[in-house]
């Protein structure tokens, strides 16, 4: 094939990718506006538009700006974080069943949050203690997993990392069960926190999470090419001049950062990090330069949609959003396993 033909195909490919991303971003904006007008308190769509323009009654403005908007935006942040972390983990471990929780940091975060709930920690302030402890323990877990799996030269083999993650994740899950047993009257709080939810979203949470999430997503996206190479194989990547160990550490750190933030503010919401990258891989292909941004937007869309479902399906009561994502995710996971058996390749 002539060089110009290849260049031509490449340009077409980049153009296609750009169109996809632009389309997805527009879809996300539309979804946000639509979900803002759905809720227990009925506010008609045209009212919502007028509120966004600056009008509307005080009560409706309060509901849209202080209750629904932070919740929807938090859904965007959490969905995007979990999906991009999932895609990164699947690439790093070259394993389609990897998810953000595979190295145990979700379990660590759950333990931190449960500890805060059970101890009634209020040294920071009741509201911040839980996410702060969750975040702290997520990183303690990451550190432990790294310390356990590194060899003397500081090199971390991927298989060891995975096993260490499973083991330490199991340890923290056991500790959470122990806490649940001793929690007494604080028990139900631990259980519901573990199921995950966006129902108490506040602007504070968004302010705190946005910079770190943007940073994490940016770092991951900048390393898309390297992730492509690593997915082919570590030796091959090394031959291309990539310092695999270092890139892996950076990607792991960035993915853990966004996952820790997501879990700290919203609890453990399962399957988002697992399913979304796969769905998008089918739609846009496995090249991380398009897959990662698509996962970010796709994850955000998915989370906003499922959370809207969670808060309207049994209104005025609410379903924990983790239940909906798991009910959608588990059958999909089974489907994935079965199609993998047919060696579809991914």
């Amino acid at each position: 094939m002539a060089a110009e033909d290849i260049a031509e195909l490449q340009r077409a490919k980049y153009k296609r990718w750009s169109l996809i991303i632009v389309f997805m971003v527009l879809a996300l904006f539309a979804a946000i506006i639509i979900c803002l007008s759905i809720g227990v308190v009925s506010i008609p769509f045209d009212q919502v538009i007028s509120i966004l323009m600056g009008g509307g009654s005080d009560r409706d403005r309060h509901i849209i700006f202080n209750l629904r908007l932070p919740r929807v935006l938090l859904g965007v942040i959490v969905g995007a974080s979990l999906a991009v972390a999932g895609a990164t983990m699947q690439g790093l471990f070259r394993n389609p069943m990897a998810s953000p929780s595979v190295i145990g940091i979700s379990a660590g975060a759950a333990f931190g949050a449960s500890l805060a709930l059970v101890l009634g920690v209020s040294w920071v302030s009741g509201a911040f203690a839980i996410p702060a402890m969750a975040f702290l323990f997520a990183f303690i877990t990451l550190f432990l997993v790294y310390a356990v799996s590194r060899d003397r030269r500081g090199y971390v083999p991927v298989e060891t990392l995975l096993l260490a993650g499973i083991a330490i994740g199991a340890l923290f899950n056991a500790l959470v069960s122990a806490l649940q047993y001793f929690a007494g009257d604080k028990l139900s709080g631990v259980v519901f926190w573990l199921m995950g939810g966006l129902n108490n979203a506040t602007w504070d949470q968004i302010l705190i999470s946005i910079p770190a999430v943007i940073l994490g997503c940016a770092v991951i996206m900048m390393l898309s090419r390297d992730l492509n190479a690593i997915m082919v194989g570590e030796e091959q990547a090394g031959n291309l001049g990539i310092n695999v160990n270092q890139i892996r550490m950076v990607l792991l750190l960035a993915a853990s950062l966004v996952t820790a933030i997501a879990v700290s503010v919203a609890g453990t919401i399962g399957f988002v990090g697992l399913i979304i990258p796969h769905v998008l891989r089918i739609l846009v292909g496995p090249d991380h330069r398009v897959l990662l941004p698509a996962s970010i937007i796709g994850g955000a869309l998915f989370m906003v949609a499922t959370d809207t479902l969670a808060r309207t399906i049994i209104a005025p009561a609410e379903l924990p959003v983790g239940i909906i994502t798991s009910l959608l995710g588990a059958p999909f996971f089974i489907y994935l396993l079965m199609s993998r058996k047919k060696s579809m390749g991914w």
Partner: protein, 313 residues
Amino acid sequence: MSKKAIAAMLVVAVLVVASAAVAMIYLNKDNASDGTTGTISVLDDRGKAVNLTGAPERIVSLGSAFTEIIFDLDAKDKVVAADKSSMWLVENTTGTENITNLQGVSTLSVESILALDPDLVVIWNFGMYSTFITNMESSGIPVAAFYPKNVTTILETIDKLGELIGEKTKAQAMVSDMNARIDAVLEKTANISESERPKVYLELASYGGTTVGNGTMSNDLIEMAGGVNIFNNGTKNWVASTESIVEKNPDIIVIEDASTKSNDDLKANLGSTVAAVSGDKIYRIDGTTLTTSPSVVEALENMAKWFHPTLFQ
């Protein structure tokens, strides 16, 4: 595009988003209107003054103990919604068809509460609810948070909550009635010596059968009823091993009625060397009376009858 350019753009993006978010908050945040003086003002268990302009007509009760108090004060028509734990009471009371079931408190959002247009929300003063409580109050919803832990504080809660819902007189009457019933038991049991108190083993229904230690309300009830808890050397709740129960040889066993263990199961498990088994002194107690709610006096009276049948008819 070079990586530095991308990085620079991202830094700018972060700053833009952050400042936009801050701007949005300050432009659109509604200030909570508190400090309005009302005709009803009661301090809840946070030490915060809950101010109402009048007796509430649309109460949301997020705790079965509170729902029970409100129902006992004849104010069930004022309750518009209750949490899952209150539903056993709502379903067993007539005239409560319109009370919405809000399921678990941890899953609720402020919007769900706003949709009910309440003029009072009563909730447990747990740490994990603190964000939810703050968010509700920022939305202008009056919230009262209580945390009764034993018989004394339950009486205080009845008093405060009663005043809050505009039934101060009824609440005070209820409290003095409960005090009278408690005193009627205490005057007969307070001076019973250790050796004359039956040894009691109490088993709850949760986790396959936990017992209660020192400092729990159930332990206090056993003491007040003239018994002695065989496990008062421990604290909080745990599952006691069959061996330790047999070793302590209780005279009386009180088991929560909701437990899946039948009396025969207990007898078979513990064996006839235990006094409670050979004397067939196993009593089942309604679990809803063992909560920090007005029915706790019922539990006390039942236990007093079982422990000292000659003193209490």
